[in-house]
């Protein structure tokens, strides 16, 4: 087992709406990423996966608020740290973020180099501009971007180029952890491939040491990340290695979700496309029982009033699922279905 680079313990955050209502969109998430590994987070839209990404940064601004839990990066607990300290010593340099819709992530009226200068000066004011340019040029070359990009405005770049620029800017300070929220969803297939390759290379070349990749496109995760976690209504309902998750999902929700995709691998070609009927619960008032119970085909009466805890299982107890039913029971149910 490698060194743990990112560990999240029972993280809870909430949104406070305009009408002063609390929305518990991340409600007790625990996970670990080891050195050199990547974790994929999958789930329907609105399940809280993007909020999880925001919450992991340890830096909160309205409407998102921190409630409890720990975020530990390479042994340093950043939750509860002074926000100003988080900003100058953690953000960008320890943990970096690639936003959803990175198309608009760069200030349209600013040259890329000016922005990089601001990013670096936010952490160390003493670096001279000439040095920043030199460093940025060599880094851009290394990640396969033409250095001329530095003197362009964001609006002048194509979609794929913009996205790769965002990734380069995010990782220019060699952060330990990279959190990518749907970095490739809006791109065409070619650009998508380039982005994925770039992120894999960053990991290989040691620019980043752990990565979390959030997407609603499950097939992508299978190809990109080592492990996959499935999120539902603000909680993780199952996680395991990518292979285990795709070929042997155990939680009724992941089971349904995986059933609804086609992985171009042997044995799954014939799998039925099954959508899961119903909608996720309202997170202003989460259900007291299992959050998935209302949509679960196999729900029993107790599911509606007993909240299931996380259960470890599998080889070496490395997998987790969150359901009242036992592993055996679930397997039997699935077997009977087919």
């Amino acid at each position: 087992m490698g060194k743990v680079i990112l560990e999240v313990k029972n993280l809870k955050t909430k949104y406070i709406t305009r009408f002063h209502e609390d929305v518990y969109s991340v409600d007790g998430v625990s996970l670990k990423i080891e050195e050199g590994k990547s974790l994929g987070i999958a789930g329907e839209s609105g399940c809280g996966k993007s909020t999880l990404a925001l919450s992991m940064m340890g830096y909160y601004f309205p409407p998102l608020h921190y409630t409890s839990g720990d975020i530990i990066i390479d042994g340093v607990n950043i939750s509860g740290m002074d926000p100003d300290k988080v900003r100058t010593t953690i953000l960008g340099s320890e943990i970096a973020y690639i936003p959803q819709a990175a198309m608009n992530a760069l200030n349209p009226t600013m040259k890329i180099i000016r922005f990089i200068e601001d990013v670096i000066h936010a952490h160390d004011k003493s670096v001279p501009k000439a040095e920043i340019r030199k460093m940025a040029e060599s880094y851009f070359r290394e990640v396969g971007l033409p250095p001329e990009v530095l003197d362009r405005h964001a609006v002048e770049l194509s979609g794929g180029m913009k996205q790769r620029t965002v990734i380069a800017v995010s990782t220019i300070l060699n952060p330990k952890v990279l959190i990518a929220d749907e970095p490739s969803s809006a791109l065409d297939v070619t650009s998508q491939k380039m982005v994925i390759k770039m992120m894999k290379d960053l990991m290989k070349n040691g620019h980043i040491r752990a990565m979390m990749f959030i997407t609603h496109e499950l097939p992508l995760l299978y190809n990109v990340t080592d492990d996959i976690a499935v999120m539902y209504a603000g909680q993780l309902v199952e996680y395991g290695s990518a292979k285990e998750m795709v070929f042997d999902p155990i939680h009724p929700y992941s089971h349904g979700l995986m059933g609804s995709i086609l992985v171009p691998e042997e044995g799954t070609r014939g799998a039925n496309l099954t959508a899961i009927p119903g909608t996720p619960p309202n997170l202003k008032k989460p259900p007291i029982g299992c959050r998935f119970a209302e949509r679960c085909k196999y729900a029993k009466p107790e599911c509606f009033y007993t909240a299931p805890a996380e259960k470890m299982f599998g080889e070496n107890n490395t997998r987790m699922y969150r359901c009242l039913m036992s592993e055996e029971e679930l397997r039997e149910v699935y077997a009977n279905e087919q």
Binding site: Y59, R87, A96, P99, N107, D118, A122, V155, V169, S170
Partner: protein, 334 residues
């Protein structure tokens, strides 16, 4: 550079097309009058002018000017040719002064008053809108609605209120005119002082009413920009809020330049009417006296000059906007 050239080419083309249409409207509209325009025009002032030879001269001049015996197109060419030479004829009401003489003596006053006032109002409005969007609280709930209210006071009404308060009640400003009536315009310090003392009240009236409208636009743009993805992204890269706010306001303010260009056409009307309240010796007052004395040549020329002024300022703003906002350049490449 290719993008810019295309952009400027387009803008210039539009400028000329609009100019031609404006000139054409100026030519056509009075000719739509059901009666003989020359008769109607000179008839309107026949009562006002006692000098019968003057009336006759004016009548003959306009008969020639309108060239009613010629075809409509020839008439238009004559009109354009005269306009290009700056020959707008002779004023009825200030006979025998030429219209171009009257206009050239008033246009400077209007430019000197309106342009600085509009710029100052624009800047203050943008600052207020930005502060209201960012700081909220009293700025958003108190100061902002107050200036929005002032912004809805018609320009002439604001002029009246300021005149009554500052000139009549507190007597700290002169009651009107562009300079003391005992003076003859010259370059002395005393004259400049007199001009300035007559200047600030009309200036203030234009500024006060333009703040609100600009502030509303800037507030919306700022809120829009504050919610933009790059704000969140910049924060997560550790950039200070103070710096991000600068990005936001720059981005919000740039489109306001075109906002100014677009609002110019509507605001100029009010500002000109406000001039009349202060008897300010600019185009507005000239226009009012032209209308009240049915001085058709003067009306025609003032409206044309105002249109050209607005067109030029709009063109100018469009051009500088393209230079300061890279988004325009990018849009041209699409």
């Amino acid at each position: 550079m290719k993008g810019y050239r295309k952009y400027f080419g387009q803008k210039l083309l539009w400028f000329f097309i609009t100019l031609v249409v404006a000139v054409a409207l100026n030519f056509i509209l009075p000719r739509l009058m059901p009666t003989d325009p020359v008769n109607a025009i000179t008839g309107k002032i026949a009562g006002g002018m006692s000098d019968s030879s003057a009336i006759k001269e004016v009548y003959e001049f306009y008969q020639k000017q309108f060239g009613l015996d010629k075809s409509m197109f020839t008439q238009f060419l004559i009109f354009v040719k005269n306009a290009l030479r700056g020959d707008f004829g002779i004023s009825f009401s200030q006979y025998p002064r030429t219209v171009s003489d009257i206009i050239s003596s008033s246009i400077g006053w209007t430019l000197a008053l309106q342009i600085p006032a509009i710029i100052v109002g624009w800047i203050l409005g943008n600052v207020l809108g930005a502060v209201a969007a960012y700081k909220r609280g009293i700025w958003d709930k108190g100061v902002m609605p107050f200036f929005m209210f002032l912004g809805n006071v018609p320009a002439f009404a604001m002029a009246i209120i300021l005149l009554v308060l500052f000139a009549m009640k507190w007597k700290i400003a002169p009651t009107g005119g562009g300079y003391s009536s005992q003076m003859i315009p010259n370059m002395s310090w005393k004259f400049v002082k007199s001009v300035l003392s007559h200047y600030w009240l009309p200036f203030l009236s234009v500024v006060l009413i333009s703040i609100g409208g600009q502030a509303v636009g800037m507030r919306s743009m700022s809120i829009y920009e504050l919610n933009a993805d790059y704000v969140k992204y910049s924060r997560f890269l550790g950039i200070k809020d103070g710096k991000i706010v600068k990005y936001v306001f720059r981005n919000a303010m740039l489109p306001q330049v075109t906002g100014l260009a677009m609002s110019l056409g509507t605001s100029i009307g009010g500002a000109l009417v406000a001039e009349t309240i202060f008897s300010y010796p600019g185009l507005g007052t000239t226009m009012l006296s032209a209308v009240t004395s049915s001085d058709y040549p003067l009306i025609s020329a003032t409206t044309l000059i105002i249109t050209i002024m607005v067109l030029l300022v709009t063109l100018f703003l469009d051009v500088i906007y393209a230079f300061i906002d890279p988004r325009v350049k990018a849009a041209q490449f699409d």
